[in-house]
């Protein structure tokens, strides 16, 4: 099973009632998989005429209280931004998977992380946010699907799963619904800082808890459109013409976003406290970084890594804490530098923040990153 198929099956297990999608490479396996599996489960699959239609089909299903998702890749996600903005305005839950490819424009079909800005800044018009999850393995793709649906329902908003062409296409051994059967209810979600590396057993435990065990107690969907039998009409809307009403809605949304920033940050870190060089990366880039840091440490370089799992809310506090000591930050991305801006905001001038990345489908190698770490190590020593 490739990453695309695995996440599709995970969505079904997570209770996805309806899937709407338009083919685009490198995520076509999802649409094909759903076309077979959703009808088998008695659920809805529609191949839409466009990404515009797909996101609006999600909008329709979601307005009636169903769990709905769509998937696409970068150019298609651009087309969906109108719908995502309307979902935000109408406060409708939705799950959108972006298997990123090279851009801008038609770009290419190689892996990329060029849509970080679009995903973490809302993407469409208006003052809004989407929760953005950045899995870095096929297992995490699988594990983040129930979390994505739960977060969407809990906060009545869009959750974007930001994957890339490598994750979508690669095959890795996975457990599909391991701890899913054990549906623990966590009424009060807490910030998680996951630790990797030397503490591996503990990491696995907390990962399982985090992704799979943390099924939430979700609010009732009393706002949905089901036909107004025996009650007053429900209206799902995003137009508020009366003076001050839209302003109030925006404050309400911002208060919700503050809650999310407080409660839902996820990140993983390794040997950050004792590190002189902290490499920050997410998704597939984090895997390259992990290997490079391991090699650097074998050479005696004091390096560690920090991996944001939620890209919004960004782990500002964790990055900021790490910047208290004298460190150098290196951000590695499959882009010309997007997340690095969030790292800089979090570091707030307390430490140098450098960048290494390759755009347009280029993938940094372990050796390239290692060489960068070596150079910074020399700089760090010269400075002290």
């Amino acid at each position: 099973m490739c990453g695309n198929e695995a996440l599709a099956e995970a969505a079904i297990i997570a209770g996805c009632d309806a899937y709407f999608g338009y083919p685009i490479t490198p995520q076509n396996e999802i649409t094909a998989y759903m076309s077979k599996r959703m009808p088998e489960e008695g659920r809805v699959f529609v191949q839409s005429e466009s990404e515009l239609a797909a996101i609006n089909m999600v909008f329709g299903a979601s307005a009636t209280g169903k769990r709905a998702m769509t998937t696409s890749s970068s150019p298609g996600i651009s087309l969906m931004q109108e719908g995502i903005s309307y979902l935000a305005g109408a406060e409708l839950p939705a799950v959108v998977v972006n298997v990123m490819r090279g851009g801008p424009g038609l770009g290419n079909i190689a892996p990329s992380q060029g849509d970080y800005f679009q995903a973490t800044r809302g993407g469409g018009h208006g003052d809004y946010r989407t929760i953005v999850l950045g899995p870095s393995s096929v297992q995490e793709l699988v594990d983040c699907m129930p979390l994505a649906f739960d977060l969407a329902d809990q906060y009545r908003m869009t959750v974007v799963v930001l994957a890339d062409g490598i994750l979508g296409q690669m095959m890795e051994p996975i457990v599909l619904n391991g701890s899913m059967s054990d549906k623990k209810v966590h009424p009060e979600p807490k910030n998680h800082i996951l630790r990797g590396g030397s503490d591996r057993n503990k990491t696995k435990q907390s990962q399982a808890d985090l992704w799979c065990g943390a099924r939430r107690k979700l609010p009732p969907k009393d706002w949905t459109l089901t036909g107004a039998e025996g009650r007053e009409q429900n209206i799902v809307r995003s137009l508020w013409l009366k003076e001050g009403v839209l302003e109030e809605l925006n404050y309400k949304l911002q208060a919700k976003y503050k809650q999310i920033e407080k409660n839902e940050v996820l990140c993983e870190q390794y040997e950050v406290a004792a590190a002189e060089i902290v490499v920050v990366a997410y998704g597939v880039a984090a895997r390259i970084v992990r290997s490079a840091v391991e090699k650097a440490r074998e050479e005696g370089i004091k390096a560690g890594w920090l991996r944001p799992i939620t890209l919004w809310p960004f782990p500002h506090e964790q990055v900021s804490c790490a910047a208290e000591d004298l460190k150098i930050f290196l951000t590695v991305e499959l882009s010309c530098g997007q997340m690095v801006e969030d790292v800089k905001l979090a570091v707030a001038g307390k430490a140098p923040v450098l960048f290494y990345g390759r755009p347009g489908g280029g993938v940094p190698t372990v050796d390239e990153v290692l060489e960068k770490i070596r150079q910074l190590s020399i700089k760090h020593e010269t400075k002290n």
Binding site: M57, G60, T64, Y86
Partner: protein, 250 residues
């Protein structure tokens, strides 16, 4: 004294925001009457367009959603596929359905979605200030055709019913007008039939186009607007049932 006419329960008792002589009020009432006559208020979900009728939920007392410009047929698809027991209708104007949402209505019809579409054609954009619509007739003066619409460069009026009737996914297509009491009664019959088809589980999309007056942007009195529908608009958009085939080829 005998009551011969009263507001139907599904039509809310609200003050209208529509201009004097506008056809939306008539169309809303007909839909509300049909919903009440069929007894389907409790399982009906309506979709309001972007345009003058964006506030349709202020008048129609059913569960309603307001969606992006032109996307109603896609939203309706998402609703009906996940809720086959519900009655889903969209209410769309000519800018919404025939221009920006041309793709969505074409493909919802093409897929044979089991939805009911009420298409208000007043040959002009109302909400944005009277600009040319795809259905604006040749020679018609609008805010963006100051010397009258020319076929060269601005195209011909788009005949939506004729376009959709040829698709196997549609089961019922009729064009009516709101220009006289007799025409209004006929329009109600058409709307009722379109809803009944969905209630009976007929496989396919039904659409009723209503030629509707916009005195404000036609720069006419309400009476003149009604006459203009009869004398001019119906020449370009002939009234009648273009399609009624309950069992669609599979």
């Amino acid at each position: 004294m005998e009551t011969v006419f009263k507001r139907t329960p599904t039509l809310k008792d609200s003050i209208t925001h529509y201009c004097p002589g506008c056809g939306h009020g008539i169309a809303h009432r007909l839909i509300a009457e049909v919903i009440d006559e069929l007894g389907i208020r409790g399982r009906t979900i309506g979709i309001a367009p972007v345009g003058c009728a964006v506030l349709a939920y202020d008048y129609l007392d059913v569960d309603m959603v307001e969606v992006a410009h032109g996307r109603a047929p896609a939203v309706a698809t998402g609703m009906k596929r996940t809720n086959p027991d519900k009655i889903i209708f969209s209410y769309q104007g000519d800018g919404d359905l025939a221009s920006i949402g041309a793709g969505e209505i074409l493909h919802a019809a093409h897929r044979g979605e089991q939805i009911t579409v009420i298409f208000i054609n007043n040959a002009v954009y109302g909400m944005t200030g009277g600009q040319m619509a795809p259905t604006t007739v040749l020679g018609q003066v609008t805010a963006t055709t100051p010397t009258g619409r020319q076929s060269t460069g601005q195209g011909y009026p788009l005949q939506v019913c004729e376009l959709l009737a040829v698709l196997p996914g549609t089961i019922y297509i009729e064009r009516c007008a709101l220009s006289s009491p007799a025409r209004v009664r006929k329009a109600k019959k058409a709307i009722k039939h379109a809803f009944e088809l969905q209630v009976n589980g007929a496989q396919g999309l039904s659409l009723v186009e209503l030629l509707s007056p916009c005195p404000t942007y036609w720069r006419m009195t309400p009476a003149e607007a009604m006459e203009w529908i009869e004398n001019e608009l119906t020449k370009v958009f002939p009234l009648g049932r273009l399609k009624n085939s309950v069992s669609r080829e599979t």
